[in-house]
Symmetry: C2
Subunit: 159 residues, 2 copies
């Protein structure tokens, strides 16, 4: 069976998350699509860049703005493997991203309803359409595997 577009693009975001995993970064990946074309691909690089703002979503937004030569990303869709945090949702709103598709919820920091909901703040002047839980299990499994590996490493280093 042919997969729908949202699932196909989310697979590309998952590939980015796997890339982060291979670099020992929390595995989160994002892509941005404009007119049926991927114009940005990024993964979490906090440790690599020693930069707390280097979330996958932020890097993807900067890439897409550079590609479009415009600080407004009208008519774009972001696919990200985890529910964005407040920083990233704030950036998506500033960038006027039209649609957001995410995989797994983030119960600790998610800003699309899990901890806070920035997506429906009328005062913020721009609302983003949200679709949740596309390839949710795949994304969760990757994150769980990452933290299991981390814990084992710590246990090993304590022995």
């Amino acid at each position: 069976m042919k997969e729908d577009k949202d699932t196909r693009y989310m697979r590309e975001a998952l590939k980015q998350a796997e890339e982060a995993f291979s670099k020992d970064e929390v595995p989160v990946g994002a892509v941005i699509v404009y007119k049926d074309k991927i114009i940005a691909r990024a993964h979490n690089q906090i440790k690599t860049l020693k930069d707390p703002t280097a979330h996958a979503e932020m890097i993807a937004i900067t890439q897409a703005a550079s590609y479009l030569q415009n600080e407004r990303l009208n008519d774009t869709t972001m696919y990200v493997t985890i529910e964005p945090c407040s920083m990233c949702m704030g950036a998506l709103i500033l960038a006027r991203v039209k649609r957001l598709v995410y995989a797994a919820d983030d119960k600790k920091a998610g800003a699309c309803g899990s901890v806070i909901n920035l997506s429906d703040k009328q005062e913020l002047n721009h609302r983003i359409k949200i679709k949740r839980h596309i390839l949710k299990e795949e994304s969760k499994r990757l994150i769980q595997e990452f933290f299991k590996k981390k814990r084992n490493k710590i246990r090993f280093s304590l022995n």
Copy 2:
């Protein structure tokens, strides 16, 4: 009379805001202080970089993390001429900035109480001490002057 530290550092942030103004950017400036030393100075560069994430605060956080070679900015204070938006407050929380001092409120997008309040979200795992309205009038004047100039330009171009 000698000015207190907060006022002196805010003057440095205001200098950055003036720098933004001179480049035709919305005049917002920020500095980050660690152990009584300015380790980051930045101004809004959205238009210059064509990047919706290029707020003064974001650039300053990246600079400070690079200076400290650490993605956690423990024991730092940020001085910024306008109340941070959701993106920037999210970033300040992720970066574990200890203290935030800002000048003027942002009634349209401020995330320290004006539109939303991210500073006291217990779920977000880190709280930032906030001091408001240091050199508020100076910052407001600069912003008002900027938008007055913009409006005049538009009026002129319509004639």
